[in-house]
């Protein structure tokens, strides 16, 4: 396992000596700041509206968790969807173009150590991004009154981190199948979109007629889709089934990555 940290350390250092880390962090902060402000402004407008119409029941139900943090995180999900493939696209494909794959595969380390090291580096970056989001939310705790519900906010951050981990594993796999970074990037995005939108199929009338909206197949498709699990965590419900989903998908793609890296040996 020692080599895992050697690989992860090198990968992180190379993120920070090249512009990649700075570009990603800057982009994430700027976009995050913009949407954070937008979420607050729209919450404020809604609040004013509700007061004007004297909708007291509705006013009662409004809170910063559902009104600011949740929509903010929903939008940042889309940002992650693009940024994480950008972070992971070079992880394996650059090794092929540099010829360093030959160094790694003739060194005394196992393929597991290699794959997990790469994933660990990506996870460290995702942790950093999640902490940035946490800092934005922290502002609400400092300046807002009443403050949001902290545990619900934490569940939201957990959802973002798990989602990031998920996308990192998908990105690793995409990077391991090609030597072209751009292809790795787009392949990761396609896979992510596929996972996200697969449940939409079950909404189509023809599908419901043919298979049935409540059939096992529809339920499986629904389970594979990311959205429900993300939303559940966002509501503050930390259910083992949703955690199992994220861990499961991540594991599947880590296994696929391992197989793909190994296949160099058997081609």
């Amino acid at each position: 396992m020692k080599h895992t940290f050697v690989i992860a350390g090198r990968e992180l250092r190379s993120y920070f000596v090249s512009p990649v880390a700075y570009a990603v962090l800057t982009l994430f902060t700027v976009i995050g700041g913009f949407f954070f402000l937008a979420s607050i402004l729209s919450f404020e407008a809604e609040l004013a509206n509700a007061q004007q119409w004297q909708a007291f029941d509705y006013l009662e139900s409004m809170n910063l968790n559902d009104g600011v943090i949740a929509p903010f995180f929903q939008i940042m999900w889309i940002v992650l969807l693009v940024l994480v493939p950008g972070l992971t696209m070079s992880l394996f494909s650059a090794e092929k173009t540099n010829g360093t794959e030959e160094l790694l595969l003739t060194s005394p380390l196992t393929i597991w150590e290699l794959v997990l090291g790469k994933l660990l580096a990506a996870l460290a970056m995702i942790t950093l991004l999640t902490l940035l989001l946490a800092a934005f939310c922290g502002l609400l705790f400092v300046f807002a009154d009443p403050t949001p519900e902290p545990r619900k906010a934490l569940a939201g951050l957990l959802a973002v981190w798990l989602l990031g981990a998920n996308y990192a594993a998908i990105g690793c796999f995409a990077s391991s199948v090609t030597r072209n970074q751009l292809i790795a990037f787009f392949l990761a995005i396609v896979l992510i979109f596929f996972l996200w939108l697969i449940a939409v199929v079950t909404q189509i009338g023809a599908f419901q007629q043919a298979v049935g909206a409540e059939s096992l197949f529809a339920r499986i498709l629904g389970w594979i889709s990311t959205a429900d699990h993300f939303d559940a965590l966002m509501k503050g419900v930390v259910d083992t089934r949703d955690l199992a989903y994220f861990v499961g998908i991540t594991t599947i793609f880590v296994l696929l990555t391992k197989a793909s890296v190994e296949s160099v040996r058997w081609r």
Partner: protein, 276 residues
């Protein structure tokens, strides 16, 4: 130290390496010769465990390269055809990374990196970013990378390619020193097609052509009585060309088979690069 046993490598119907066996004793410096596409790189990749053999195996320092891969790889320093470098890292950082990968103990790591840099003449550029180095320096970083963990076996694929004559001389004397008693008797296998290089460093020559070993003899024997290595090389490659094509080879155009174009480019030879 190295024990290659009947190594075969097939890509589909093409046979890149066809039953190559040899053994190299500790401290020996062996020149691995052959025309382009003869299977030199493939054989070296198999010896280092990068590619699996279709058949046969090899022992490195007594460890089977497939069954005891980790132990075998620890004993190997390998310079691939393209030096495996990270362009964004500096020289010292890169060599430290390789030392960690190759399990150099923490206490010895710093001195091992220093020593490798000193031996390869890299002390002046230790803080430079590899991507900004000249080709000669990059090649030297590649060699430093192969020797940083003091491996018992060094496998070098065209170590002096792209270097100027002075650098070539430096690298040659480095290799001779590495094989000597006081520098730890490294066993060295190097591939090249510069015959002068073989004459300068190697004590033994293994020649492959069309994936087969066609010659394995001490250099002294080949150059006895003023004979030239070049003649032996040409003789061995051409003799092999003249033999009928082995049935496993893919069909070649008749025009190519009838005109053996010398030692440099055997016509029917198509060694596919193990692509990505």
């Amino acid at each position: 130290m190295i024990e290659a046993q009947n190594i075969v490598k097939r890509y589909g119907d093409t046979v890149a390496v066809d039953g190559v066996s040899f053994s190299v004793a500790a401290g020996e410096v062996v020149g691995f010769l052959g025309p382009n596409g003869a299977g030199k790189t493939t054989t070296m990749r198999i010896l280092t465990g990068y590619l699996p053999a279709s058949d046969g195996t090899a022992l490195i320092d007594g460890h089977d390269i497939f069954r005891e891969a980790i132990a075998a790889r620890r004993a190997i320093g390998y310079l691939p055809e393209l030096p495996p470098l990270y362009p964004e890292m500096d020289v010292q950082g890169y060599l430290t990374f390789v030392a960690k990968l190759k399990d150099v103990p923490r206490a010895k790591r710093k001195s091992a990196v220093e020593r490798a840099m000193e031996r390869c003449g890299l002390a002046d550029v230790r803080r430079r970013v590899i991507g900004a180095l000249s080709k000669g320096y990059r090649q030297r970083v590649g060699i430093a990378q192969a020797i940083v963990h003091e491996p018992k076996v060094l496998i070098l694929d065209e170590p002096t390619v792209g270097l100027d004559p002075i650098q070539i001389r430096e690298i040659r004397s480095l290799l001779v020193a590495l094989a000597s008693e006081q520098e730890g008797r490294h066993t060295i296998v190097l591939s090249t097609h510069i015959l002068a290089e073989v004459e300068a460093i190697c004590r033994r020559v293994i020649l492959i052509n069309n994936g087969k070993k066609v010659l394995d003899a001490p250099l002294a024997e080949l150059t006895a009585n003023g004979a030239r290595l070049e003649d032996a090389f040409t003789r061995a490659t051409l003799r092999d060309e003249a033999e009928p094509e082995p049935p496993s080879e893919p069909p070649v155009a008749p025009s190519g088979a009838s005109a053996p174009s010398g030692a440099s480019a055997p016509s029917g030879e198509a060694q596919p690069e193990p692509a990505s």
